[in-house]
Point group: C2
Chain length 296, copies 2
């Protein structure tokens, strides 16, 4: 998947703000691809920065965001979503007009709106959502191949700078990601359905089982279905907050589907139940089959 | 976990009716533990029986259930649930009063009620639910260690024969399972919450995502959350049918929880959302931690 030329041609230094699982893996991945420029880890906690540097995720570190922005050609915001407004305000204050900015946040509507409002050259902000990760966090879990083979949604605004868009998309492609362009709104509705709703349901299923005293007989099926519930609660509260409209709609839709299935069972309409299970199996098998063949 | 003495002492031949993933793995597991008696695979399709025998799951095969019942000391019903009534009727007709009978079905209320109604010595039927498996089926996926470390719920009826109960429980324990005794009703309510509800939700999530055109950006989190939806739709329709009362209640409970979360989001009550995600993470992490330490 990875391209043969080194990524980020023409950029001497990339600043990664937040060197956790995603930021750290981005640094490792760029180095594995032969990126020769400096990779500057930016954060507030010197211990996290030291861990990231010791793990080879970054080649330099600083706690001074202003200094990092001025010295870099690309800034990647890889902190939790709750810090994005403050980061964009600080980046805007640096007035570095050639800077390209992207992020790795799980929702796109709010960050893109903030970028449009705060930045003097909003077209050089290109929203990204690399769909990789897991319930573990911290640079100690970073992997150069974390992004390989996964989708990355890129959400350029109207009037996006072509060079900035190309730089950001080619960086994710070089890391093996399949980039998909969407508007921020399309993105937020799609991820509400395939990520935020499943996360919400996983948390609810755990509580329902616990309330009913059923956890002692839980097996691997339950553990898999609820795996995502082990994700960081602070991170996910931010995700739910910034995508509350689309997630609310998806929850409504699910509540109706759940009630409909309850009615089918009570009527013993097993042909309809069977059709529902067939469709679920068909859709899920198709997803796995698509991945196996590496198709888009 | 496995006991040092060979399992099923005093039983010269065990008949496994249905040599799919569970039946086949039971045969392999018994042989791996040094069981010296005959393991008779019983089924309707000679090809499946041949596959099971070639894979070493059974030592003998027959399509004649009556012959198998008469020649055996223990019969394990490992077919889909939909065949249990017919099997119990045929077993009852053999009038083999020393026979011990168990099953591996995912619901227990109906099969225990049928056993009580149909068998002349109902106390020698001991319902079992070994909570192992996966979405693949067939003897070609059978593994001697499939049951190791997993829970097995045993549902003896009032007046259960002590020797039969002991034989069945010690067989599952020898295979490394943690046996838990419940009434059939307790069992069905517990598995509705930790197995049948998650399965139903997985199928609904797949359909909701597909309907919304969101599958093209699905990632590993979605694949894990919906893994169980790839299970055999016929098998699961039977499970839902035989556990429709408990599953309906669980679906009702979930629909209320989903709607409550929707309300919290719309009110932007993020403290309550955070508490819900914390509880979900806490419960799920605790489950994994318990497994890691091998506690009960």
């Amino acid at each position: 998947m990875a391209r043969s030329e080194a990524p980020l041609a023409g950029i001497d230094r990339v600043a990664i703000v937040g060197t956790g699982l995603l930021g750290g893996s981005l640094g490792l991945g760029l180095r594995a691809l032969g990126y020769r420029g400096a990779i500057l880890g930016v954060g507030r906690r010197p211990e996290t920065l030291k861990t990231a540097r010791d793990a080879g995720c970054v080649t330099e570190t600083t706690t001074d965001l202003r200094q990092a922005v001025i010295a870099s050609g690309l800034v990647v915001m890889a902190t939790p979503l709750g810090h994005f407004v403050s980061l964009l305000e600080q980046i805007a204050a640096c007035n570095h007009r050639d800077l390209i900015i992207t992020d790795v946040g799980s929702t796109k509507g709010e960050v893109c709106a903030h970028a449009r409002r705060l930045l003097s050259v909003p077209g050089r902000f290109i929203g990204s959502h690399p769909m990789a990760g897991g319930e573990r966090h911290g640079p100690e879990f970073a992997r150069a191949d974390l992004f390989n083979g996964k989708p990355c949604i890129v959400t350029p605004a109207d009037g996006a700078d072509f060079n900035a868009l190309n730089m950001v998309e080619s960086m994710w492609s070089a890391l093996g990601m399949k980039t998909v362009r969407m508007t921020p709104e399309e993105h937020d509705q799609a991820v509400a359905k395939i990520s935020h709703l499943p996360h919400a349901v996983a948390a609810l299923l755990v509580q329902l089982a616990k309330r009913g005293g059923a956890m002692r007989v839980a097996s691997t099926g339950f553990a898999d279905t609820t795996r995502v519930a082990s994700g960081d609660a602070e991170v996910w509260t931010d995700i739910f907050l910034t995508n509350r409209a689309a997630l609310s709609s998806a929850l409504d839709e699910l509540a109706k589907d759940v009630t409909r299935l309850r009615d089918l069972l009570q009527r013993e309409d097993m042909a309809a139940v069977r059709a529902l299970l067939d469709a679920g199996k068909g859709g899920r098998d198709e997803l796995i089959e698509t991945w196996r063949h590496g198709e888009d």
